[in-house]
């Protein structure tokens, strides 16, 4: 008989993040399919409001470790371990957010379990839990199951609807952990000075390729102009900015868009962001871009090469045109 634990960290404002609510939907559905009990385990400064907000999820038990506002691995790992042991969970479902992703593998090692991360689907087939996840950076997808218990899963965002059940008064059992941590959280800071160009909730991902810094038809590069065009476009559309690796790597060579860092990078060594739409400009890579664009629904590209390997079969529409001219005109229209 499985015992399902939904485990999440509470945000600074006392709420649960969207991805946490999505994974709660997954945990509820899994527990229902298995006919097993559901426990909610929370971690944060004060978990009561978050627990009350999901009181109607059908959990038989609510367990929390309060007073841990700052994400410090040593404390979080002990809290995770305590919650998993208290719940007697055989299956743990958690959201794939940085705090949880950092600590759950360590907690899995402590409780002698196995972990699979970045899961995109959890299903019950013939009483057996079957998950799907990507391998080789979104190049192939596998369906697998494990006999080991506890089995810990972190669920990627965008795969389930956020839980929207009734709130109420959840009876929370509070656990305490005592750990002498040698690490102290100092602050959160923006990765970039100035304008924020990474917007995970944006409806459009704008990807800039290395072509923006190459010599144009007049034989000269126009990096400043490119920078201004892109900045204006991002300001008008509130799009999130992605970049090819080749463009970010030019940082060491001088000619680079000043607001780009490796955090903007999509593809093999970058992110695979999830946005409804994507517009690629001056990109010429193939497989790395496919990897980075795996979760973009509608894709369009502006490129001078109609035979571009990235665009053929990967984009819905390829505009064979000069991105400088098109984005300039687009900025006027928007």
């Amino acid at each position: 008989m499985e015992n399902v634990l939904f485990f999440a960290s509470v945000e600074a404002d006392g709420s649960l993040a969207k991805v946490a609510l999505e994974s709660l939907t997954c945990a509820c559905a899994t527990a229902k399919s298995l006919g097993s009990s559901l426990t909610v385990g929370l971690l944060g400064s004060d978990c009561s409001a978050a627990a009350n907000a999901i009181a109607g999820c059908g959990a038989a038990q609510f367990v929390a470790v309060n007073g841990v506002a700052d994400p410090v691995y040593a404390i979080d790992a002990s809290a995770c371990e305590a919650i998993i042991k208290e719940s007697g969970a055989t299956l743990v479902v958690a959201p794939n957010v940085s705090r949880i992703a950092r600590v759950l593998p360590g907690a899995a090692a402590r409780v002698g379990g196995k972990i699979d991360t970045r899961v995109t689907s959890v299903a019950v087939e013939g009483g057996r839990v079957q998950i799907k996840r990507w391998y080789y950076r979104q190049r192939m997808i596998a369906s697998l199951s494990r006999d080991y218990r506890p089995w810990i899963l972190t669920v990627d965002s965008g795969n389930y609807e956020p839980y929207a059940g009734p709130a109420g008064a959840a009876p929370v059992k509070t656990l305490t952990v005592a750990v002498a941590a040698r690490t102290k959280t100092l602050r959160e800071e923006a990765a970039l000075a100035g304008e924020l160009t990474i917007r995970p909730d944006a409806s459009l991902l704008f990807v800039a390729g290395a072509g923006w810094t190459k010599k144009q038809s007049d034989g000269q590069p126009h990096v400043k102009e490119a920078e201004e065009l892109i900045r204006t476009f991002l300001g008008k559309t509130q799009a999130s900015l992605g970049s090819s690796k080749s463009l970010v790597d030019q940082k060491g060579e001088g000619e680079i868009l000043s607001f780009l860092t490796h955090l903007n990078q999509v593809g093999q060594t970058g992110a695979s962001p999830r946005h409804p739409k994507g517009l690629a400009t001056c990109c010429h890579g193939e497989e790395p871009h496919v990897v980075g664009w795996r979760f973009i629904n509608e894709r369009r590209a502006i490129n001078l090469d109609p035979n571009c390997g990235w665009a053929q079969g990967k984009a819905d529409v390829l505009y064979v045109s000069d991105a400088f001219a098109v984005i300039s005109k687009l900025n006027e229209m928007l």
Binding site: Y135, S143, H262, V317, Y319
Partner: protein, 268 residues
């Protein structure tokens, strides 16, 4: 800081990202078609970890770097031909599978055992570096487990920067949601740091470094311990998703028309 660190970088090989990969089901579970023939590179994030380690070793006296690498011995030897000139390190090879389908806990077990067996390693000065994720399994789980198995409870994931203080303590910047960094201060080693891209470019090849590394690389490879690392899971199916789109190529429209079409699409 006079004592320096003992930095162990965990990093293995992955197929060259430009290669087309095809899964293949075998009796031992899934693998890649022609896996042993595929050209390999050092896992990108582990590579960043190695370069950051080498940079620390350059700046901090008495700091030494080891590279613990799990992979088929022949492929590790080929890999060393390309990375041995990048940074000075001592190789600790483990002869086993580098497949992405192996279990992260079993991989961590093999790595932790190899680290424990490094002669002369001072655990009180130990920094365990690695990638925050691999380009094969892409789980982001192995380093935390290695840390736990070694009894290290100061761990940092998605690290882009470390700043070491005079007293041996250090500040770390970790990537968190919303394009932000979480800045933490740790009292000092031992600690685990799983790197994102960091801030350093790939170092140029240095033949002198290569010659220095080669003195120890080949004997180390010959003595590589063989380990069995499995998947510990039942794979029902592994497939490459078929996502070929019917691309509409627009060649004959003016800039104005294209901009108009895109503007309407964005506003939809």
């Amino acid at each position: 800081m006079s004592a320096g660190f003992h930095i162990v970088v965990c990093g293995s090989l992955v197929p060259d990202p430009l290669q087309t990969l095809e899964p293949l089901m075998g009796p031992q579970g899934p693998g890649l078609k022609n896996e042993m023939m595929l050209p390999s590179v050092l896992d990108p994030w582990a590579g960043h970890a190695l370069y950051e380690a080498a940079n620390l070793a350059k700046d901090l006296p008495n700091t030494k770097v080891w590279l613990v690498s799990l992979g088929p011995k022949q492929k590790l030897q080929q890999l060393m031909m390309t990375i041995a000139q990048k940074a000075p390190f001592e190789l600790v090879p483990i002869d086993g599978s580098a497949s992405g389908f192996t279990d992260s806990a079993e991989t961590a077990q093999a790595l932790a055992k190899a680290i424990e067996g490094i002669p002369g390693l001072d655990r009180s000065r130990l920094l365990v570096f690695g990638g925050c994720s691999s380009a094969s399994r892409d789980a982001g789980a192995t380093m935390q487990m290695v840390g736990e198995m070694l009894g290290i409870i100061d761990q940092f994931m998605g690290v882009d920067e470390i700043r070491v203080m005079e007293d041996g303590s250090f500040e770390v910047k970790e990537r968190v949601e919303g394009a932000k960094y979480l800045v933490s201060r740790c009292e000092g080693a031992p600690a685990v740091l799983a790197w994102a891209t960091g801030n350093l470019p790939e170092p140029p090849n240095n033949p002198q470094v290569g010659m220095l590394n080669m003195r120890t690389l080949m004997p180390a490879l010959q003595k590589a311990q063989a380990v069995q690392v499995g998947a510990a899971a039942s794979f029902a199916i592994v497939e490459v998703p078929q996502q070929r789109r019917d691309t509409r190529i627009v060649k004959d429209k003016s800039v104005d028309e294209i901009a108009q079409e895109i503007a309407e699409w964005i506003k939809e």
